[in-house]
Structure formats: structure tokens, C-alpha cells
Subunit: 571 residues, 2 copies
């Protein structure tokens, strides 16, 4: 089943749902005219369809491998990567001073969504580069910027992010990698890092590792972490990669999915590194990179969902089975109520998750363009929701895709199972979905719920307005937003964070359900009597009601949960 | 992580939840004394822990393979299979006249649950044999019974079930395999069958294929299907396998999971077959086998869930990460609220799904022992729920198991991912979960909802009784049962089956949620102030509320769903 880039969906979302026109009205993004946006999406979509997607299966069948210390990538990946770089798709939002297009994050998010649907394992590579570009733009010295940014933006070099160590995963503060000043303005980095995505490969002449490490005498925990640029090859005066740096690829992981993405264990043994940002200020710079990546991972979930949905729909429209359940049907299994339910759920959830991701990106763009704290807070609030819900939808849709294929879905040849295996990592990396939920109910509500309530005000105001046109859809959306508002008020009233954390995952999902309903309602108003209105009705009638049970869970507190002791669990 | 057989859970469920004493009070099952039951479970559990579970990973890493027309099974499988056979664990419920133990299905279900948790790929083999034994007991001639049953019961031979053809999956009636009488009382079978589980292997001297095929001039569809016994090797007069029959293994599938289970394409080319049951009566015999297998597959889901839960709990209790979130904690990630939430959800859902499966088995036993139509109807009602919910829980728990492992869960070496890959097939085979849901709202409610309402009467009566002891748990269970009853009444009032089918999957899940709550309430009453009561509170407070949203979905009807056209879906 060939991948088809959902360009018209993006255009509709930009135009009628997330309001890209507001972004384009800002001088900073004046180039994001409707014509440019359509041209960009069309061109990127074509690349995804024709060049990137055809490599997906080869990446799965022929994983990247480590041979005599050299990582060999999957067949076709080098050519597809080159085409992505030449098209400028690695750094759509990067600073034009360094060769970027300077376009809104909303566009980057759409392009990432398509690239992920085409080949998640390969798209991970530019996603990490995007994060590093942003970290360097914000925190690096001019010299480092001049040297690295143009080469990262062009795809001449690629980037990695080195946080995790065997004893330090979600708890980054426990890391032990050391950085010793060498008296020449640089540092010697020593330690082992694991789970380094695209940590080594043969696609480019150099690989730029951003590494978290501790300076001598640094404080314990996250306050004692500094960030270093450690290139695989040391660039000479004019930037040509020369001598090999002291970093060695120990092994690659054998993973459930994204086989085409080499996940490396890297050993740093006195490698030369350059400080990025302030001493002991590494977490701040890393968070810039991570927040960017979190939205990017949400878009990955949506992109895989899109591809898995397309494959399942094509299969359902082709597969004849059983007596026709409805008159004037297609004669295929899409006529069966339960199959159609699954397909409609998939499409409705993809729309919801994509709208949330693009809303988050738009808020980021507005924050950058205006510097307003309200937009900053909106983007910060939406980031964990976009990440966790986008990846949950990715997993659920890929799972239903397997189910629609029946026995064929369990056989690897159809490719339905690959989506499920590939997407599974997105709920884990860049902060597990549990960490996203904790972030939402703690840091993102440290404002007393102000940002959340401001968003719900908009949701309710829109529902009020929509009541005249579609009363039976507007009312449940308004009611759900109100129930969510009460839950927000309950949450921020809990002084003990445990009480928030105990229901944070269901709370995040309920929040996403309500936002999804809001965006579906926008679509219904924009397309009265049309396909989008019919899908909105499906979502609001059948999927939205889930929020009530989730919020009951979210408001249960921690006491009964912690009453279940480790001994109880092991009994 | 070594597998630990949950023997005490089974004993509690038999004793305090599903009422095995009532079964044992029937003369047919007089041997199922508490002492025998405990001895059987302990012995089977020991085999699972010590002999079967250690082969699980080898089956994954070294799949069965076809070499020069011969299927070679995974390392260690032959020895483990032999131990299962010698222990008598293949046919716990089979007729003692043929060497079976004649014990209740409740015990078979518990043993199957443990064997599945130990090694699903291998356990599939005896599960199919159990189904065939039952089909032969009910439908085969005495001569076939004498020849085949003792050898199947002892594990000397194994069995397969041949329904699916490339164009005939869920729609069995579309099959084309032909059976021609050869004038000697036997038939020549010709056609291709796919997805034949354990369709070929090297574990035993013979393999007994039950094959669905059409006689010349047979009616179209399911009414023209007959069932045939087609052994791989033709037995001579005293039952010794002799000449090779005309069945050839074309290929084995490359699957997402259960790599140790060879899934074959079999080509029948004039193979000799013996009629089982009446001409054109094949579906009836096949349904005997399938209903048995459906409950068995539900137990597989529970078994995998148990194993995945144990592995995740062990990991969580070992993994140190982050600052202690609670005073006097363990210092491991089990102290984190979201991790504990996941573990409690897993354990609570395993209990619910296991209780439903064992209730179904107990109802089957009562039906067999008493011949009463009420028990028959109860078993028929619970079968699709046990199958679909058991496998959904299997998938959800295996998925949370991966999540709790974090990055380690995505790396194949930990084994967490194998559970997820293995269990995924259980929602597809033996009738997809969508088919189970359709069965529940149509055939199983063809009685006007009588069996469902009778069960809900019991649930409400128990909640009434429990009100004095645990009012805050009993009230929500009673209310949920009442909401479900209203949904049952709404469903049976829909003359158009499409209206029922459109919400059948969420309806089935809601039904399971309510039954799960009922069984948790029973546990809370049986263990006041204990661990089971604390888990019941978690389930009833946090997981049960899901039923309301599901029932809203279930009662939405078909109109809005079918309004979403194939063109809408492809737009």
C-alpha cells in the first residue's frame, strides 16, 4: 500500500482549525503565505510518497548493523536521506542566517508528520538534528554556531542527543559521565551513554553529539549537569572533519521496531568536547531540545497512525468477505459495522491528535513571534498532551490496523505489524507518556491552572457560538469542557503532588479527548453537512464520552492507590 | 524473570468467586475435591515454572522452520511437549474412557492459563488437540474415536483445525476445498488451507487434521460444509502410522509473534479423509471445537497477562530511579504513582478477566453435569466475553509491561516485547474480537436478553447483599449493572441487527467491566480489609467508570456510523 501524503488535511487544519493565518500575520513569519504553505506541503509530500516511503520495509528487514566498528545503514536510506537534505526538509524552521527556511513550527510539524508516516526509523535522524539546531541557536557560542549550524541545517552532518546512562533514564540527574577541562578551553569527556538514536551511521561525514556530563565538583543531581558538543571527527580550522574523536560505538540494540534506526551504546574515553551554554546549565539547554523533540514525537505518532490507517482502509476496501450486511454496500469488509467503526475511530482520532499537535506548534510560533507569556504558556501546556496523545493514537490506530487485516495483519509481509512495532517506542522516548502526564499536572499547572482554564474558556466560548448551528454537538462539548474545568480546579487544589500524579495519565487523556472534540466541532462548523461534520458527530457521540470515566479516575487521589502495597502487588 | 504459577489465585477464585464446590457436588465431577484440585494445580504449575517457561525465549529466537519439506521445531520444545503429555496436561477434561482425567473445564482453563503464561507458542499445540478431542467425542464414529482419542489424549499424536482458505477467513462459508467419495467409505480431499497452527512439526509420529470441505453438489455457504479427519500418516489396522497421506506443507508464515508455533500452508491433493459427523454437518462439529477453543484463547490472554505482569513487577521492584516520591517507600520505581497505577490496573484486570474465564468454564461444567438449559445459556453468553476481554486484557497488560520497562522494554533482550508480540494474535484467531462482539449481541441475545438479564439479576442481588458490608463499593456495582441492563434492553429492542453491531465491541467491553466489578466485589467480601479488598476498591473506583462511556457508544445505533461513507473514509 503506497503512502499518500495528507496535504489537504493539513491545509484544512491550518485554514479552519488552528489559525495559521494569525501566525502568518506576524512579520517574523510573513513568508508563510497560503501559496508558500501549499507549495511546501505538496513538495514535501511528494518526496515522502515517492522517495522516503519505499524505504520503510527495507529498513525493517535489513536493520542497521555494526561491522568492525562501522555502522552500515539499511538499503536505500542514504539516498532517501540525501533527498530529504537537498529538499531542505531537515530544517524548515531553522534560522535563515544559517541556511534554514525560517518557516513556522506548524509547517515543520506537518512535514515531520509526513516523513514519519513514510519512514519513522529514518525520520528520527532529522528530528534529532532539528532539536540540536534549536539548542545551538539558543545556547551555543557564535563560534560553535558558525561551525555547526550551516552543516546541520544542510544535512551535511547529523546530530544526536546523549542523556541516558544505564542507571540514569527518566532520572537524568543520576548521570555520571565526567567532563574535565583540558586547559585549552575544551574538555575531556569520559563515560558511557546508551540508547543513542542514530548514534552512529554512514550517511554523513560527521556526527555531532550533544552530551550531558558533570564538571569536577559539580553539584549533585540535575543542577550539576553541563552540555558539550562532541563531534565524531574533530573539524579543522575550515570545518573539514579530520582526526577521529575519542568516542567509540560499542554495540547496537536489537529492538522491537524501527530497525532501520541504529540505537547505539557510545563509549566516550577522553573525547574532546566544547561547552554549550553555561557551566552546570546543561539541563536548560537540553530542555530546549527536548521540548522541541516532544512535539516532534507527538507528530511521529500521528504520522504512523496516518500510514497505518491508509493501509488498513485500502485492505478493507479490497477484502471481500461474508454476505453483504447492508444494501448498496461495496461488497467488501468496510460494509461491516465493526470494521467501519474501527476505521471511523482511527480517522477521527488522527484528526484530533493532529489538530492538537498543530495547535501546539502554532502556539510555539506565536510565542516566538510575539514573545507573549500567554502563548508561551499555551505551548508549554499543550506539549505533553501533544506528545502523549499523539503517540497513544499512533499505537491505538496501528493496533486497529492489524486487527482490520485479520490473520494477514499478524503476518509480517503485509507491513501492518511493522507500524505497531515501530510506533511503540514513541510512548517511551523523549520522556515516557507517564512523565508527560506528571509534567502536565505539576509544572504545567504551577500557574494554578491559569493556562488550562484560559484554553477551556476558548473551548466553551466556541461551543456557545456553535450552539446555534449544531446544538446536539455543541452541548456535549461544552459540558465536557466544564467537567474538565472542575477536574483542573480539583487538581490544583491538591497540595500533595501524589494526589495529582495518581490520576495524571487518565487526566491527560481526558484533556486530549476534550480538545479533540473542540477541534472536531470547529471542523463541523467549517464543513456543514460534509464529511468532516459526519466524522465530528462520530467522535463527539462515541469517543468523547470516555472523558467522564477518565476524570473519575483522575480525581480518585493517591490514598487508595498507595494503600495497595508492593506486597499486595506481589501476592 | 522466572514464571511463577499463580496457584493461590486459582484456589481463591474457585473457592470464593466462581463456586467450584457446586461443580464438585455433581456426581460427574465428584473427583474434583479440594485436595485433588490443589494437587493438580500445584503439579501443573510446577511443570510450567520448571520445564515449559524456560523454553519461551528459545521459541522466539529460533522459530520453527521448514527444511526440505520437514518442519523443525524450536530447541527444547520436544522435551517440554513430552513432559506436558506425560503429566496428563493435554486432556485434563477428556473422557476417562479414552485416558482423560474427566475433570471440570474450570481446571483445564486454569492449567491452560498457566501453560500459556509459560509458553504461548507451545501451549497452542495442546489447545488445538483439546478442541479436536471434544469434537471427536461429540461427533465422530466409534471407530474413529477408538483409533484417535487415546492417542490424542496421551499426546502420542497432535491435532489441527483446518478452516481458513485464502478467500475464506471470518467467512468460513466461502471455502472451496473439495471432498470426493472414493467408493470405499472414505473421501479424497483436495484444496489449500492457510494459517494452520502447528500444521506440521516433528514432535509426534502423526498429526491429525480436521478439515472442512465440500462434497459434490453440496449447498452453497456454511450449510454445505462437511468435516473430515485427515491424518498426516495413514494408520494401519492396529493404529501404527504407515503411508504418507496426500497432504504437503507448502510454507510457514513469518509472524509478529509466537515464532515457536509453526503456522503452515497445507496443500491437500487427493488426501484420504474420514467423515466426522453428518454430511454437510461440518459447521456444527466445528463449532464444538471452536467454542472450546474460544474460552481457551481467552485463558491464553489471561496467562500472557500474568507472565507479563510478573516480569514488569519484578523490574519495577528492582529499578531504582529518581528521588523517592513517598516516605518509607521501596526506593524503586514502584513508588512512583503512575507506575503503581499501571501495576494495580494490570493486577486488577487480570483478576477480572480470569474470574470471567473461570465463570464461563464453571457454567460449561454445570451444563455438562446437569444438562440444564440455563447453564448452557450462561456458558454461551460468557464465551465471547471471556475470549474478547481475556485477550484485550492480555494485550493491554503486555503493553503496560513494556511501558514499565521504559527503554528496556523496547529492547528484545528483556522479553517484555515478546509478550506483546505473542499475545497480539489472540484477538484475531478463533473468531476476531469483532466477531465475538457480534456473536454476543446477536446469537447470544436471540433469547431476548434472557440469559444476560438473569446474570445481571445475580450481580445486582449480590451487590444488594454486599451493601451492608461495603456500601461505597456495592453501590457503584449495582448502578453499573442497572445501566448495563438498560443497554441490554435497548439492544434487544433493535430489530435491525446493524444497530446492535455498530456498538457491539464497546458493549462487550462494558459487559466485561461490570462482570469484573462483580467478581472484585465478591473478592472484597471474602477478604475484608485485605489485599483483595484494596484491589477491588481500585478497580471499582477507577476502572469500572469506563462502562458509562462505552455504553453511550454502544447505544449510538448504526445510522450516524453508516453516514460515514467509504468516500468519507478515503477523503
Amino acid at each position: 500500500m503506497p503512502y499518500r501524503a495528507p496535504v489537504s488535511d493539513f491545509l484544512f487544519l491550518f485554514d479552519r482549525v488552528v489559525g495559521l493565518d494569525r501566525v502568518a500575520a506576524e512579520p517574523r513569519f510573513a513568508e508563510a503565505t497560503p501559496e508558500t504553505v501549499e507549495a511546501i506541503l505538496t513538495e514535501a509530500g511528494k518526496l515522502c510518497e515517492e522517495v522516503v516511503a519505499p524505504t520503510r520495509r527495507d529498513g525493517d528487514l535489513h536493520p542497521a548493523r555494526l561491522e568492525n566498528g562501522v555502522v552500515r545503514t539499511s538499503p536505500g536510506f542514504a539516498e532517501a536521506f540525501r533527498a530529504m537534505a537537498e529538499g531542505g526538509w531537515i530544517a524548515v524552521s531553522a534560522d535563515p542566517d544559517y541556511g534554514g527556511m525560517g518557516l513556522p513550527m506548524a509547517l515543520t510539524t506537518a512535514v515531520n508528520d509526513m516523513l514519519s508516516g513514510a519512514n519513522l526509523a529514518l525520520q528520527l535522524n532529522p528530528l534529532l538534528t532539528q532539536g540540536q539546531i534549536e539548542a545551538l541557536e539558543h545556547h551555543a557560542s557564535d563560534a560553535l554556531k558558525q561551525l555547526y549550524l550551516p552543516r546541520l541545517v544542510s544535512g551535511e552532518w547529523t546530530a544526536t542527543m546523549n542523556l541516558t546512562e544505564p542507571q540514569a533514564g527518566s532520572d537524568v540527574g543520576a548521570l555520571r559521565t565526567r567532563a574535565e577541562p583540558d586547559g585549552q578551553g575544551t574538555y575531556r569527556i569520559t563515560g558511557q551513554k546508551i540508547y543513542i538514536t542514530w548514534g552512529d551511521h554512514d550517511l554523513t561525514d560527521n556526527i555531532c553529539h550533544l552530551v550531558l556530563a558533570r564538571l569536577p565538583g559539580a553539584p549533585e543531581g540535575t543542577r550539576g549537569i553541563s552540555l558539550f558538543m562532541v563531534p565524531k571527527f574533530l573539524p579543522d580550522a575550515d570545518g573539514t572533519p579530520g582526526q577521529r574523536n575519542g568516542v567509540r560505538t560499542v554495540s547496537l540494540e536489537h529492538k522491537l521496531g524501527i530497525h532501520g534506526s541504529p540505537t547505539a551504546v557510545l563509549d566516550y574515553d577522553g573525547a574532546t568536547g566544547w561547552l554549550v551554554g553555561a557551566e552546570n546549565g546543561g539541563m536548560k539547554a537540553m530542555f530546549t531540545m527536548m521540548n522541541n523533540a516532544r512535539l516532534g514525537v507527538g507528530a511521529q505518532g500521528v504520522g504512523i497512525a496516518e500510514a497505518a490507517y491508509q493501509a488498513a482502509l485500502a485492505y478493507a476496501l479490497d477484502r471481500k468477505q461474508g454476505a453483504a450486511p447492508i444494501p448498496d454496500g461495496t461488497g467488501t469488509i468496510v460494509d461491516h459495522a465493526d470494521v467501519r467503526r474501527m476505521l471511523a475511530s482511527m480517522k477521527a482520532d488522527i484528526f484530533a491528535a493532529r489538530a492538537i499537535a498543530l495547535s501546539c506548534a502554532t502556539a510555539l510560533d506565536m510565542a516566538r513571534a510575539t514573545g507573549q507569556a500567554e502563548w508561551q504558556a499555551r505551548a508549554a501546556l499543550l506539549t505533553p498532551i501533544a506528545k502523549a496523545f499523539g503517540t497513544e493514537v499512533g499505537m491505538a490506530v496501528a493496533d486497529m490496523g492489524v486487527q482490520i487485516h485479520g490473520g494477514m495483519g499478524y503476518v509480517e509481509e503485509t507491513g501492518a505489524a511493522q507500524y505497531l512495532r515501530d510506533v511503540r517506542i514513541t510512548a517511551i522516548y523523549e520522556g515516557t507518556n507517564g512523565i508527560q502526564a506528571m509534567d502536565l499536572v505539576s509544572r504545567k499547572m504551577a500557574d494554578g491552572g491559569e493556562a488550562a482554564v484560559a484554553l477551556l474558556d476558548e473551548v466553551e466560548a466556541f461551543a456557545e457560538q456553535a450552539r446555534a448551528q449544531v446544538p446536539d454537538l455543541a452541548a456535549p462539548v461544552w459540558n465536557a469542557a466544564e467537567t474538565l474545568r472542575e477536574a483542573v480546579e480539583w487538581l490544583v487544589g491538591q497540595g500533595d503532588l501524589s494526589a495529582r500524579f495518581a490520576g495524571s495519565a487518565p487526566f491527560l487523556r481526558a484533556f486530549a479527548r476534550v480538545l479533540g472534540a473542540h477541534h472536531h466541532l470547529q471542523a463541523a462548523i467549517a464543513d456543514p453537512g460534509g464529511a468532516r461534520a459526519r466524522l465530528a458527530r462520530f467522535y463527539i457521540t462515541r469517543l468523547l464520552p470516555e472523558h467522564a470515566g477518565l476524570l473519575a479516575h483522575a480525581r480518585s487521589g493517591a490514598e487508595d492507590l498507595y494503600a495497595i502495597t508492593p506486597d499486595d502487588l506481589a501476592a
